[in-house]
Structures are given as C-alpha cells and as structure tokens.
Amino acid sequence: MSRNDSDRDEDEEFENLGRSQDNQDEDSDLEESPRRTSSSKKPPRSSSSSNSKRREEEDDEDEDDDDDEDDEDDDEEEADNVSRRHKKQKRNFNPFLDMEAEVDDEDEDEDEDEESYGGPDGFIADETDEAAEATRASKHMDLDRRRREEDDVDLEEQAARLKERYGRRDYAPRRAFQGQQEDIPQQLLMPDVQSPHLWMVRCKPGKEKDLVFSLMRKFFDTEYSAQPLEISAAFSRESLKGYVYIECMRQANVQAALNGLNNVFASKLTLVPIKEMTDVLKVRHKESELRPGTWVRVKRGKYAMDLAQILDIADSGDTAKVKLIPRLDMTPRSDASYIAGNNKRKQVNSALAGRPPPKLFNAREAEKVDKLNKPTSRGRGVFVWANEVFREGYLEKDMKISSLITESINPTLDEIQKFAKGGVDDEDGGLDLSAVALSAMSTSVTGHFQPGENVEVMEGELKNERGTVDSVNGDMVLVRVWDDKLKGNILKFPPTQLRKLFKEGDHVKVVNGKFKDETGLIIKIEDSVVTIVTDLNVKDIQVFSKDLQMAANVASGTGTIGQYETHDFVQLDASTVGVIYKVERGFARVLDQSGLTREVEPHLITQKRDSSRAIATDGEGNSIQDGDSVREMGGSMREGKILHVFRTFAFCYNREYMENAGVFVQSTRLLVSMASKSRSQPGMRLDTMNPAMMNMNRGGFNNRGGRGGGMMMMGRGRGGRDPLIDKTVTIIRGPHKGYLGIVKDASDLTARVELHTNCRIITVEKAKLAITNANGTTTPVSSMPDMSAPSTPRAGNYGGYGGYGGMTPMRSGDMTPMHPSGSRTPAWNAGSKTPAWNAGSKTPAWSASARTPNPYADGSQTPAWDAGSKTPRYGGSSAWDSGSRTPAHSAWDAGSRTPARGSAWGDSDSSSSHNQNGSSSGSGGFPQTPAASGDWMNRGVPTPGPFGAPSPAPFSSYPYTPGPSSSYDSAPTPSSNNFPSTPAASSSLGSGGGPGGHHAGSNGGAHSASVATPGATPGASNARLQSISTPGANQTPQTPAGGPSAPMTPASHFPQTPFMPTGGDYSGMDSHHGHSGGQVHGYGSGAGGAQGAAGPSYDWTTTDIEVKISTGKDGSSYEGGKYNDVSGRMVKIPPRSALSSMALCDVRLLSGPDDRKVIQIPVQYLKPVAPLKNDGVKVLSGEHRGALGTLMGVDVQDGIVSLRGENMYKVLTMSVLGKYLGE
C-alpha cells in the first residue's frame, strides 16, 4: 500500500495547493507571496485597472476587519481606530491613483497586508525601506520557490502549467481529472475495511433507477436539514435487476435513507462482502461486440432481418454506418405512382409485405426508374439517389445501434457471399477473410470449445498464453494454462479471447461454416485462419481455427443438402431418376438409372421419390425390393443392399466399393437375391406370374382396399393409406391426454392430430392414441403386445379394419364383439368373441387371430407364427379346421399341418385371398399368391388367411369384407405402417432382415427367428415395420431377424447367430411353409438346411485367428459343453468346399483345462473372436479376405483397419474381422 499512501500524499498536496489558491484573496501566507511577487515582475498594468482591482480587494479586507472588530476593540482601541481610519482613507481614495500613492506614503508602517496588494504596492514601495525589504524577501522567496520547483518538478509543473493556461477559474474540475490522471491502478482502489459498507436492497424490478434518483433528490432535499441522509452513494445496474445498492457506514443509515421510499423492500438488507464489492461494479467490456466488419441484422423497417455489415461506428457509440444490400423499388415511377408513393401511411403499411427484393444498386437502372431524380455520382462508384448513398451497389446507411440486432446473427454463407465483392464465382467466394474473421469472432460462442482442446489466448494480459480447455462453464471457458508460473491454475476466459491451437499436420474436422463436416490435414496456419487439405477431394480450404476440431475419423461428407440426403431416391427430370450417393457443398452427386453420375444442385431435383413399395423381379424370378441384399449375376459379382428399385433398375449400395461411394445401379434382371433361394420351387417363382398379373393383383388389392373401405366406411382410396387418417382419436397418454382430435396425417410412428379444442395440429405418437368409436368407446391404436386386455373393444370403423384387428395377433383376445360392425360377417363376430381360443375350439378365423397371443405364451412354439400365419387364414373356417395350421401349434391341433402346409396354404387361402376375387377358396390356382402377398410390402403376407377366409359362410357372402380388410389393413392397423404385425410380419421380417432377403425366404427366416426367440412374437417384423404387435422379435438379438438392424451384413457374416443361415435357405420350402416349417427346421434340421443354401456361413474359417467354442445353433454343445467358452486358435481348417456345420477344424486351445491341446471340433461350435483396438486382425471375408492388419479403432460396427502392405486405412465391418494370433 505504500504506493497508495504516496498517492494520497500527493493528492493532499494538491488539495492544499488548490485550497490556497482558491482562498488567496484572504490568505497571504508565505507560500503564496512569492508567486505574487513574481507576478509583480510583469510589466505594470495600466494604473486604472490595478486601481480598480485593488479597491475590490480592499473592500474585502474591510469587511473582514469589521467582523473582527469586537474582539479587538478592548485591547487596542487606538490602533484599531488608526487602522480603520487608514482604511477608510484608503477606500476613499482608491479610485484615484494619485491619492492612493499619498495614502501609501502615509501608511509606512502599514501591516504586512500591504504586501498582498501585489504589483501596485511593489511599484510604489521601491522608495521605502520596508518596500525594499519586501522586495528582497520576495526575491528570496522566489529563489526558494525555484529550488522547490526543482525539488518537486511534477507538482509544481503541473500546477504552474495549469495556472498559466487557465488562470484561477476551473481549477476544481481540472484537479478532479488530474487526480484521475494519476492512473492509480484499480487494484489499489480496492475496498478495505475502512471503506463504507455496501448494502444490497431488494426493490421492485424496473424501479432501480427511479430509486437511485429519488435517493439523490432526497439527499439534496435534506442536505442542510437536521437529519441529512448519511449515505455516501447509491447505485443500481441494468444487469442486476431488482436490487439497489447503498453505500454508507451503518445499517441504520440505509434504513433512514429508504424510509418513505416506494417500491423498495427495506426489510431485506444484505451486506455485500468486501470481496464482492468490486464485482458489483464490474464493467463489462462490451466494446468488442460491435466493430467495423461485424455482421448485424436490422430489426425493423424495410430491411427487417436483412444482414448488414458495420462500416463505422459513431463516436458516441449509438449510431453506426452499415452496409446493406438495398431493397429499392425499381418499378418505373409514373407521376401518378410518384404521388401515391408520397402517401407515407400507405408506404408504411406495405413496407414489409411488398418490400422489393434485395438487389445491388445499379445507377443506370435507377436512371430509368425515376427520370426526375437521377442518381448523382460522387465518383468512384458512389452514388446518391433518393437521399441514400450507394457505394459499389451497396447501400450505406446510418442506423441507430439500438435498431440493430447484434447478437447471434449467424449469417448464412449465402448472405455473406452476397456481400462478397467478387460475387460467388471464385473459389472462396471472394470473401474478405479478415472481415469474416472479425464477425466470426464476435459470434464466437463457448460451444465451439470442447474440453481437452488446446487454446491460445488472443487478447488481454495473458495474451499468447496457451493452455488446455478444462471445461466450459456458461459463457466462460475454463482453461488450464501451461505456463510454468501459472501451472495448474484454471483461468476463465470469454470465448472471444481464445482461439484454438493447432499444429500443422493435425487432422481436423470443420465443425462450422460452409465447409462443415469436411475433414483434412492442416497445412498452414496464419493467425486464426487455417488452411487444410480436405480428405475428400484433396482441395485446400481456408477456415477459422475456431471452426475446427481435432478429429480422428475421416469425413464422408455431409449427409444432407436441403431436404435431400445421401441415398435418397430423387427424380431429376421426367425420364431420369437417380440416387444421391454423395452430398457435397452446394450440390449432390447423383447416380442415375443409366449408371451416369452427375452433379446436381438441390433445386434441380424435381422431387424425392419413394420406392419403398416398389417390387422388382430378380434374375431368378424372386421378388426383390428395397433393403434386400443382392448380388450381380455376372460381371464383377458385386454384392450390395438395394437402396431403391426403379422399374427394372435397382440401386444398390455396398460401402466397400469406392466407386460412387458404394452406390451402383444394375438391372434387376442381372441381380440375384442373396437371401431367397426359392429356385427349387419353380411353381412359386414370381416370374412365372405375369407381371401384369402382379399388377392386377396389386390393383386388386387396392380395389379391395377401396372396397373394403367403402364398406367399412373407411373411405380409403388406396390400400397404402394409413387407416388412421381421418379418424377421430383420443389421446390417451402424454401431455395432451384426454384431448379429442382428428388424425390428419400419419407416419409409421406418429400421427398428426388436429385437436378439436383449439384447431391446433400436433404430432403425437400413435401409441398414445385411441380411436374413438361411434358409440363412444375407444380403441388404443397400438395395442401393446403384452396388453392382454381383451377389454378394448374393437369397434366401429376400426372394426372395419377389423380385418386387421383380427389379424394382428396383438389384438387378439379382444376381438370384441363390436367388431362386427356391420360389414362383418356374423361368423366373424362369433369368432371374435371366442375367448376360448385356447381351447382350440377356436371359432373361425378370428378367434384364431385372437389367439395368437397365446401362442406366445407357449414360448416354445413359435407362437407368433402360428398365430399369425395361420390364424387368419383359418379364419376361413374350414380351412382352419382342416388343420391348415401349423403343426407347431399343438394347441391348435392344427399342428398336423406343418410341412404339408405349404400346399395347404396354397390352396386354401393364399390364393383366394390374393385374388381379389377372392372369393372362394379356389384360389389354389395361384399358388404363389401368398408369396405375392408377401411381396406386396410384406404387408400382405400374413393376411392371406384373411382372405383365405373365403371360407364358407361369412365370406362367401361378403367376400371382401372382413377378410380383405383385415388382411390388408391388418397390417397397417396398429403400426400404421401397413406392415402387418401379424404373422405376416414375420415374413416381412425376413425381408427386412439380412438373410432372408425376401419374403419367400423370409418366412423361413422369420420362423427361425421366432424359433430362436420363443418370446418373440411373430410380428417380429423388422424394426422398421414396427409392427406394434410384436416388437419382441426385433429386439431379440439373436434372431436372425436382427438382421434388419444391421442390414448390411448378410447373415453369413454372423456365424455366431445360429439361426442365421436358415433364414435364407429355408426358403427351400415354399413360403407358406415357412410358418410351420419354420419351426421345424429352425429347431432341428434348420441348421443343416441352412447351410446348404447359405454356403458362406462358415466362410469365415481361416487359420491363425482366435475362436471361441460355444454352443451350436441347434443348442447342442461340443462334448457336452466341456469346452464351452474356451478360446482357441484355428490351426487347420477344412477346405472351403467341404465347409459345413459339421466340418472339423483343428483348434489349439488357449485356455481351459486342456491348454495348448489341439482338438478337432465341428465348425458350428466355433465363433471368431472379435478383435479389440490395436489387435492384429485377419479379414474373414470380402475382397480383403485373408488380409492381415491391425485394428486401429472401432466405430460402432465398423473397424478401422490398417492392412499390411497398404498405407491406407480400411473401414471394414467388425463381423468380417477376426483376431489374428500370428506374427
């Protein structure tokens, strides 16, 4: 504090100085005299002026004396009299110089007061001894003064300089600023215990300033009263709403001060701790917010929300000159419109509505527009027109800063580009990087900083300091500084003061801006502008370091452009469609159906197409559709998953191909589905079916839908429309519970419901909806699988769906009576009710469906299945009985069927159902139907039954009604996706899933799935089907069905999932079969059959990889499970041609009791062990099969592998990687 003390001393000295000068009229102390004498050296002033001056002074003097009179009276009357006399004389004679001289002469012994009279006296005094003496004295003083001056240069200099310049007046303020100039560091002004206390008082928000003002007024009012306010200051801050601070010594003073004031809650007084006092007054450094180059937006008026750039800020800080893209009305002005334009009111009203588009100013155009007032040029691209200044086409305008939005501007690239001088043509858009940098700074937010990033401080005391971001707290970034002195300290910085620190060679990702999501290597760093070479197209790009982040992975480009994203199926023109295989900045790369690639800007894309319902026939007559895995029949034998089907073209994708980012297009005739192997059943071939027929069927379907709809009043025109649409629903859960509304639109999972109450349309999950039936009852849209409650009656229209209701197993039990809604056949109802279904007595189909749930119950049985598959169909009464049912079903009795089933099916239902004719059972004629139905979106699949229903009674009369509706709708119903949750689902499952690419196969797959996971409902459909009813299936990991979740990897890749193989091959049997058969195989022979078809399933076998011994797919264990979970190393493998589940491999055990022993074990009990990061790996399949490498990292299901001999990383599915144990 020594410094402080000295400062204070200096201050005091100043004050002394000041005071003496202020009072110099009265005082005549020694200090002053020298100055006075020195002034006497100045040339004598004119006598009159000095006289007048002197007289004034004497008056003062006199009064003083008068005041003192009483005191002096007694003691020295004489002297007093004399002096008074003298003075009187003086006064009398003052006006005249002569007289004064006389007086002076007389008053030789005048007291020292005389000296203070300065000049005039000196001038006279020369002749007197005393005067001489005084002069001498003053000379001494002068010398003294000079010496002192030397001693204390600063002080004197300042005082003198000020004095010379300004004379006496104005000293006080100068002194004040002088003090300020002292430059006392603010740290030394910190409050201490002697400072007055600061009290925080709550008040009514918004009244803070009023209170401060009233306090001030109160202070002045009471200043000279008996009880002055004893507070030294009071203040409020905008940022501290609801509080006023009062500074004083004692709490009582605060209360006294606040007494009688409104809007203040004086009862709550809080003492601000000394430490926090400065925080209250902390000045936020706002200056950086706005500076030339910053982007802002205009709040109001013609340019509302337009981007503007600050060119200059007025000194007062309240106005700024901004650069805008003018919005000028360029319609030629006739005289009439001119007048109209003057109608201000009108203009204001239409200011926003019809404001002209932003466009750069063009003088020539302007001339044409307004012939009366042509723009005047001010040279160099500057024009003045209509009182506005345009520079190089941009409008320059002074605007109040308060009318600008300055925060979170986030200008888009497009907007900035418009401001770029050179337009958009050159590579970087001609952007002035520095300007953008500036603006970017200002928008820098903490979000850009991630813990662990290295940063450098850009401004402030710690400039150039480096550190690591420790955490981000609100709008401050906490940085652990590296510097030795500060080591370990965590300092807070506003993000604007930091910039990210990178080294050349760092691999980074752009997290913001137009290059967002690009990755690359840093090749140059200039301040905060970093040049990187992108990984994707090896171009140099410049970005701000703040927009970068260290990144290990290589970007595959941004996924979306506008409303389109990678792998979207888009229509380019009337005859061209394509798939976006890569999205780049500003355009998408599209592969069209002829195999050509093109770069397309989003606006050139006509529309996005939906191919999810498209079906095509592959080279072997199997139907294929989106999501199926296929292989080329010739050529390069590429494999892939179908992204989209378009007429006879399929767009496929396989991430392992580099060309076109893995997307290729091929004629469907040249593809073969990898999942379905239904070749053995020519009868089932899709291609035998006339495509026209297919169409017909399809059409029929539609009709049916329509018809059914008609009957049921569903009013659906197309089969695919979500049945929920236009339904009155009640929201049964969530925040809107209890609201009634109409479904306006629906997607797989959600519905948009227009509420009756307030006409709002909200999006609600379907699971939260219940359909309100005509009679006031409700039916939950999604019955949960476990919702056994038969209670929910199915009703009215829904009932109409009934169809589906029936089908969906879920619904099961409840098929309520309601159902019957007119359309239904009586039978139906009957069916519906029978709760007994377990009993096997099942009534017609319905019950069957109803019963599905049970099956589940059994667990072991593929309940779903049965339920699904059969139920419906049987529905058809007779069919049913006939045992069309799956064997599995023991419950049913139906059991008998199983294998046979295929045929059974065929005849009974399937056919019938499909053909709309529906009518009767005769359908036998279309054996394929079932399959077909499957194709149609899977959804149909299960349904067959329903139609099939043709069965006797009910149907016959209303062939369509229940059946149809049910079949089709059923699917949709619950899930709304049209995908039948019912058994059919299973089929869909297959298709969705990896292996069982298609329906045919899928059935099989499904089965197996279900088998595997007994719990799973039949519905097991793919995730995307979302069959409400049977979600279970999807979730069970082991089910091949799992496939759907990892569609890319064909089942074969998962040796570990036992059932896998079955999936596809199963199809050997006809699809129908699937159901019943599914079980059988699934359990028993399943594996075997599977292999046959799925050759590749043990394809992974290779030497020197680590394997684990586990149970086989059929649940059996090798040697009774003795070696289960033991790991080993593959030593010898059977030839590939001999691969089967029983093929023996030599495995050297690596653990367990028989360590190092080599055993022979059937391959089915082996699973490759997944490598971990940094493990050696061997590629098990794919084009790199057999290659060795190191696993550098794992990204979900992909491994990043450094292959030996290649200096590039490969991204391979983890399932094709085995842990390599060799050298």
Partner: protein, 116 residues
C-alpha cells in the same frame, strides 16, 4: 444544487468524460458540471451530442464523493455530487480527446475499455 439531478428519466445522457448523467437539455443549458471547462457543452447541442452518450449502464447517486468507495472506484470521487453512470458506451471524438491531452488530461474512456 439540484440542477445536477435529472428532472425525469427521458432523454438521459451520460457525459463521456466524467459519466455524469443528466438530461440532454440540461447538458445543453448548463453543460456538464464537472467538465464544462473542458468540453464546453453549454449552448452547443452538437457538442452535447458528441460528448455524451445515451447508452450507459447503471446509475450511481453520489452523495459524498470524497468518502464513497464507490465513487473512488469509479474515479468520480473528485467530482460534484450527482448521478453518474457505471459505464458509458462510446468515446469522446478524437479531436476532443487530443484537445484534452494538450491540456494535460489523459482521457479515460468510460466504456470499460480503459485498463490499469
């Protein structure tokens, strides 16, 4: 004395030199109570506009400048009693700043940019 207090809350401006808050017409009529000799705002509306700002934060009623820590911290402890801003946006025009400098006064901006 009370001429230094704003009469109402409209059109308040803060002196850029000393941060005193007054109404615009008060500045115009009587200048800044602390800085009149330096800024000479009295009677010159343009000077008033140049040397004061309507963008300021906080209001401090300084009753006893010499005793108040708040005033000291704000470096307004040698000024008149009155209402001051905690922070004033903007700076004096450069010519005025130069002028002040020639008078031996270093301008300390009140916008928070001054550093110690």
């Amino acid at each position: 004395m009370s001429g230094i207090i704003p009469t109402d809350k409209k059109q308040l401006r803060a002196c850029l030199l000393c941060s005193l808050i007054k109404k615009q017409d008060q500045f115009f009529k009587s200048g800044c109570d602390n800085c009149e000799s330096l800024l000479e705002m009295k009677g010159h509306m343009d000077r008033v506009m140049d040397c004061t700002s309507q963008h300021y934060d906080g209001a401090i009623a300084v009753m006893q400048p010499s005793e108040s820590w708040v005033a000291k911290w704000q470096r307004i402890d040698k000024f008149e009693k009155g209402i001051y801003a905690v922070q004033v946006q903007g700076r004096l025009p450069e010519d005025i700043e130069d002028d002040l400098e020639s008078k031996g006064i270093k301008y300390r901006a009140r916008d928070g940019s001054a550093r110690d």
